[in-house]
């Protein structure tokens, strides 16, 4: 048997050999345990799935942010981008759905006093196009088009950020700070400061509100027909993407390059790695994931609020990534840690609600958790 003294001495070394997210995982388990003890409804399937669905959008963004921050960059624009991409997608979809009516009313309006909305001319032209292509009024096509526009907007924004940073030599903070202001402003202009609501009767909201039934569960035992527990699509998408992201970061050449560039971009360039290209792909990936998050969120709400949707998401996303042990200066990051970070934020929010802590004070708790998490990640090994 190992004498306890030797075991104790071995502990710090064992600790250093554990994955970097071990601490975050322990914190998560402690939070779950504490919350459950105070309020057993927390661990119920419905509550857990609600929390997961609520945080899956931030989670999907955090997957992309893990790559961006491991690369040594940052993306502040994700929240605004979600609002803009979602709003634009719904607007295009609505235009396709109501093309015939739009063309008539705009032509009438044009005859009188000009175009009322700033984007009126754009929608008019789009409506004419849909009518000519014979696509107008078909819900399936319109929803597919809306989804495509949302993802494409994310991709284009990611491409733009990548180009500004790699070719324009802009600091990532600055390039995406421009996006933070710019996309929000575009979203506000698009919706005239209000909401863009989907006119699709059922199809558009299906993916955000639906899910896969968990067999053998029944939420309403008294009802004549069993009501199974639904695993929401956004949660499933987040889980699948998280697995893919983990493989991408740890087991592919691209992931290796991201870590190398994040550790030392000069050394990476000297190793014949095309640093600009790795940067562009990473921001493109971030843009794609922002598109996916926007799609699911818009579908879940069946609308986009130009002033509220995605507001301060960038802070939650960066917080989740940092709590998960990804280094702000790049070179070190794990997808597993990020997933745990997202869950910690979700559990804390839910716990504070269940414990009836004032919503005004919840931000303080979140802030404390971020600071403590980062302080705890100062490993003794890095100081030695």
């Amino acid at each position: 048997m190992t004498p306890p003294r030797a075991l104790l001495e071995a502990l710090p070394r064992r600790w250093a050999a554990l994955p970097s997210w071990t601490g975050a995982l322990l914190a998560l388990l402690a939070l779950v345990l504490a919350t459950t003890l105070r309020n057993p409804t927390f661990i119920g399937g419905e509550n857990v799935l609600n929390v997961l669905r609520q945080w899956s959008f931030v989670g999907i963004l955090a997957l992309g942010m893990t790559f961006v921050m491991t690369l040594g960059g940052i993306d502040l624009s994700v929240g605004s981008l979600v609002a803009f991409a979602g709003g634009l997608g719904i607007l295009v979809m609505n235009t396709a759905l109501g093309a015939a009516g739009l063309v008539t009313s705009y032509e009438a309006a044009l005859g009188q006093a000009g175009v009322p909305l700033p984007c009126g001319a754009f929608r008019y032209a789009l409506s004419r196009l849909f009518l000519q292509l014979g696509l107008a009024g078909h819900e399936g096509l319109a929803v597919a088009l809306g989804f495509a526009v949302i993802v494409a907007t994310g991709l284009l924004a990611g491409l733009l950020h990548g180009l500004l940073i790699s070719r324009g030599r802009l600091a990532p903070f600055i390039a995406t700070l421009g996006g933070l202001a710019g996309y929000r402003s575009l979203a506000l202009a698009l919706a005239n400061g209000g909401e863009v609501s989907s006119r699709s009767p059922s199809l558009f909201k299906a993916i955000g509100t639906g899910g896969i039934a968990l067999p053998g569960t029944n939420l309403a035992p008294q009802a004549p027909v069993p009501v199974p527990l639904l695993i929401p699509w956004p949660v499933l998408v987040f889980m699948v993407l998280a697995v893919l992201a983990h493989v991408l970061l740890t087991r592919t050449r691209y992931g290796r390059y991201v870590v190398a560039v994040g550790c030392n971009p000069r050394a990476a360039a000297y190793s014949a790695i095309d640093v600009g290209r790795v940067t562009r792909w990473t921001y493109l990936l971030m843009g794609f994931l922002a598109g996916v998050a926007a799609l699911l969120l818009a579908s879940r709400m069946n609308s986009v609020s130009s002033s509220g949707t995605g507001l301060y998401y960038e802070l939650d996303v960066i917080a989740a990534v940092v709590i998960g042990g990804t280094s702000m200066s790049g070179g070190r990051g794990t997808v597993i840690g990020t997933a745990i970070g997202v869950l910690i934020l979700g559990v804390v929010g839910n716990m504070l609600n269940l414990l009836q802590v004032s919503t005004y004070l919840q931000g303080l708790v979140k802030g404390l958790i971020i600071v403590v998490a980062v302080l705890m990640q100062r490993r003794p090994s890095s100081a030695a």
Binding site: T250, Y257, V259, C263, A267, A269, S271, A272, I273, G331
Partner: protein
């Protein structure tokens, strides 16, 4: 040693030693500077000049030895403290604050003020006086970055004088100046000497040293090998001989005879500001050396050949095949690899594991998209075995390895891409003798296996022992190519320093 007529030295360094992590960089070096004296300090790269001056300047503390200021024992812990004792240094790379004005730079940290507000008129007046005292009439409000290098140097000197410096250390002050500016500077140095200042003058340009210095101390391998107290009759060749010294050890394996066929050719390589129309030809099985002083353009040439620097002109032909090598990726595909002189900054990715570093350069070539599997582990394990790299675990951070083992990882990393040409920049810098010998044997083995090896080094003896032929660079140009077996370190030093190259040895 000092004659009765000599005044007491302004500063004396006595038996100074300095160790870095167990390596002795300075061993019992003594140096004194008298009032009104220009004391030359010369030696090869790595001989210990900078370490000695960093001790005098207060950046480093000596491991052993004493400092005396006008006969009084002193010690200082920071450059600021050394400045208060009247020691000032003009660095080779000037350290002015580009965004501030001339006056603000001269008075940085000592601004005249009242109640926290600057007194601009007083600043300008002080700065103008300082500049006038060295015969310079720059506008005190010009931004520092708008000045020429010579003007920046003048500002630095004015700043030193305004701090009442009595001892001025000038590190390679003429390297960046035009011929006319050198004349101005040397006259100014003569003027400062007449005012009773003591000047330590470090330079590789031996002609300037002889022109301006009263005495010269020669360092080699961290020790004083010769002190010239009287320079009358001393020639540049005498100085060069003392600098390089002897001792060609038997750590080099015997050279095999190279073939006749030229397998690597670089023609008219030019990099703006660094390399000017350099052409090289390397034969089958030959190890080609590149010598030169710091700043001669050797590293820049190596980087240009490997696509790491943009070339303005020039072509590269490897085994009859023209290479573009416009980017590092392209260079690798065309078989040209460059092992950086800066192991920790650019050669290896510190913070990543040994395994990841070993395979990083070859990942693309391997065509594998999925990494981290058994194949990569096996490849890394094979590299560790082949190159005799002493590691704990393959996944440990590469930063945990010793210098010699890090260098082997850097080499192995590039050999994994199976290059046709490998450019080794300072392959033995900062590693111990045993590891050096291993690296030399490895280079010989590679050359014998048909790899074209170009070795850049600041150690003349290393090039003479290792290479077949050595090209010597000076100010971005190839000053000459010598057969290593027939050449001496003096020949290399003469070419590198620009002393007449064709005359016989005295």
């Amino acid at each position: 040693m000092s004659a009765a007529t000599s005044p007491a030295p302004l500063v004396e360094m006595e038996s100074i030693s300095r160790d870095f992590a167990g390596v002795r960089a300075l061993d019992g070096v003594s140096l004194s500077v008298r009032p009104g004296e220009v004391h030359g300090l010369i030696g090869e790269n790595g001989a210990g000049k900078s370490t000695l001056m960093r001790i005098l300047d207060g950046v480093l503390r000596p491991s052993a030895g004493r400092l005396r200021r006008r006969g009084v024992p002193v010690s200082w812990r920071s450059p600021a403290e050394a400045q208060r004792h009247g020691i000032a240094m003009i660095h080779q790379e000037l350290h002015g604050v580009g965004e501030l004005s001339v006056a603000e730079n001269i008075l940085l940290g000592r601004e005249p003020g009242r109640g926290g507000f600057l007194r601009r008129e007083a600043m300008a007046a002080t700065a103008r006086d300082c500049l006038a005292s060295i015969g310079c009439d720059l506008d005190p409000w010009r931004p520092f970055r708008s000045l020429s290098l010579a003007e920046q140097q003048m500002v630095e000197i004015a700043k030193a004088l305004s701090q009442q410096a009595e001892v001025l250390i000038m590190d390679e002050p003429t390297a960046v100046l035009t011929q006319r500016e050198v004349g101005v500077l040397l006259r100014l140095i003569g003027d400062l000497r007449r005012r009773g200042m003591g000047i330590v003058y470090i330079s590789h340009i031996l002609g300037d040293v002889l022109a301006v210095c009263d005495r010269v101390t020669v360092l080699r391998d961290g020790a004083v090998v010769r002190r010239f107290d009287d320079l009358s009759g001393v020639t540049e060749a005498d100085l060069a001989n003392e600098m390089v010294g002897r001792a060609l050890s038997d750590q080099f394996p015997p050279r095999s005879a190279p073939g006749a066929e030229v397998v690597f050719e670089a023609r008219g390589i030019a990099v703006p500001g660094c390399v000017d129309d350099v052409s090289l030809a390397v034969r089958e099985g030959e190890i080609f050396g590149l010598a030169g002083l710091i700043g001669a353009g050797r590293t820049e040439l190596g980087e240009a050949l490997a696509g790491l620097r943009r070339r303005r002109a020039g072509s590269i032909v490897v085994r009859g095949r023209p290479c573009r090598a416009g980017t590092p990726g392209e260079a690798i595909r065309e078989g040209i690899a460059y092992v950086s002189e800066d192991r920790r900054g650019t050669g290896l990715v510190l913070g990543m594991g040994i395994r990841e570093n070993l395979t990083l350069a070859a990942l693309r070539q391997s065509g594998r998209v999925v990494v981290g599997g058994a194949a990569e582990r096996a490849a890394a394990a094979r590299q560790v075995r082949d190159f005799g790299i002493r590691v704990g675990r393959l996944d440990d951070d590469v930063a945990t390895l010793s210098g010699g083992n890090q260098q082997k990882v850097a080499l192995a990393k590039w050999l994994e891409v199976r290059p046709a040409v490998i450019i080794l920049d300072e392959p033995t810098r900062g590693i111990d003798i045993g590891a050096k010998a291993e690296i030399y044997r490895l280079i010989h083995r590679l050359a014998a296996e048909g790899l074209i090896c170009i070795v850049i080094s600041s150690e003349m003896n290393e090039l003479l022992g290792l290479c077949h032929r050595i090209g010597v660079m000076r100010a971005g140009r190839l000053a000459g190519v010598v057969e290593a077996a027939a050449a001496s370190d003096r020949d290399l030093m003469r070419l590198a320093a620009g002393v007449a190259s064709t005359e016989g040895t005295p």
